[in-house]
Symmetry: C2
Subunit: 233 residues, 2 copies
């Protein structure tokens, strides 16, 4: 495992780099540039924990580089991944009754993340209607995404799940036909509610059927994107 970065950095760590200097606001996405303006950047090593399931949900996070997964565990070790977050994505919004996260969040690979106090975002939002709307829309979109995940987990076959996953990853990589997967088969399985064996077998079947080509375990070429579209809802 990589050890290039702290495995469990403290929020008080001196390695935090504040981004408060006056800049011409490059604002990659215009929306939610508040992260770049008021947030602190932190590094996490692959497989290290960013926050725990029962920690108070004090911060919001934005991925700069790498990939993050949210994870929920049962007592006997069964694992479910709620979502993968890629550069540009915001996570950490979910907060249960007790004010704690419903998931834990972990770095899939080494990554950099901008951290922002939850209260900072909301209090800024009070004076900035556009920001408020942006945050609001982001939460609403997360909820809509959860809808798609539920029908996938509750009603779709193994093939449909894997196809939906490939389709999603392609869409998130600007529709690229050569999809790069930062996560392991185990992560994919826990995301789709399947076992590693079933994920592996299904990928092999898709390759045999001429739908995809496994360039390597972590690089998949979509040979017949139309088929993927057809099976994904």
């Amino acid at each position: 495992m990589s050890t290039s970065q702290a495995t469990r950095p403290s929020f008080l760590s001196s390695e935090i780099a504040l981004h408060t200097s006056a800049r011409p606001a490059p604002a990659p996405s215009a929306r939610l540039a508040v992260f770049e303006m008021a947030g602190a950047t932190m590094g996490f090593a692959g497989n290290s924990e960013i926050y725990g399931e029962d920690e108070p949900a004090e911060y919001l996070y934005k991925v700069v580089s790498g990939a993050v997964r949210t994870v929920k565990l049962l007592a006997d070790g069964r694992r479910q991944i709620g979502a993968f977050y890629l550069p540009g994505d915001i996570f950490g919004m979910e907060m249960g009754e007790a004010g704690t996260h419903g998931f834990s969040a972990e770095a899939v690979v080494d990554c950099r993340v901008i951290v922002l106090k939850r209260g900072a975002a909301t209090s800024l939002a009070e004076r900035n209607g556009a920001l408020a709307t942006a945050l609001w829309n982001h939460a609403a979109r997360d909820l809509a995404r959860a809808a798609g995940r539920m029908i996938l987990l509750g009603r779709k076959s193994a093939e449909e799940r894997v196809v939906a996953f490939l389709h999603e990853m392609s869409a998130r990589q600007a529709g690229a036909h050569l999809v790069e997967l930062p996560m392991s088969r185990q992560d994919i399985a826990d995301y789709l509610g399947l076992t590693v064996e079933t994920v592996s077998r299904t990928l092999t079947l898709l390759e045999t059927g001429g739908t995809i080509r496994l360039a390597s375990a972590r690089r998949i070429e979509l040979v017949d994107p139309a088929y993927l579209e057809g099976l994904d809802d």
Copy 2:
């Protein structure tokens, strides 16, 4: 089927009763009393649609009486229920990329619902920090709930799902040991990602095991709540 109310009321319908008169603000839950103050009350017959999956997400809703389900359908008829909403609950927050709902919403039984323009809530929130926080927390809680639903749908056995469902319904009825179910077995099955047969069988097994008692199909007595607790996460 009951026909006591409009099956597909228009938002322009004259039956809308505005609640704008000055009242002493009874505010059942203090939070989000904005619904009672600025919303319009509408009635829906059992099994009628409140909004469709692809309609623009213009309104927020609060259940006054009855029960509501959010539903997502696949082309071949497979159905997934995202959540049940009981009196006091707010729904309709989910909104996808296209500005449309990710689910459709339907009345489970005859019900009354307060409807509020989405923009009305957010613009009021801009001038009322407490309201903004309340709305924000509500969305965050919905997201945390989605986490629990995902591990249920992705990783739990039929028995665990049914037990979790009974436990949830009991908790939402003030922890009552005699649970009233407004929804059909089919609805429960589509909520839990199972078939009606499996739901029915599992309930029978729980009764045989002395965990519950089926007073009637829609009334279930929790005889051994400790067992339910133990199996639910």
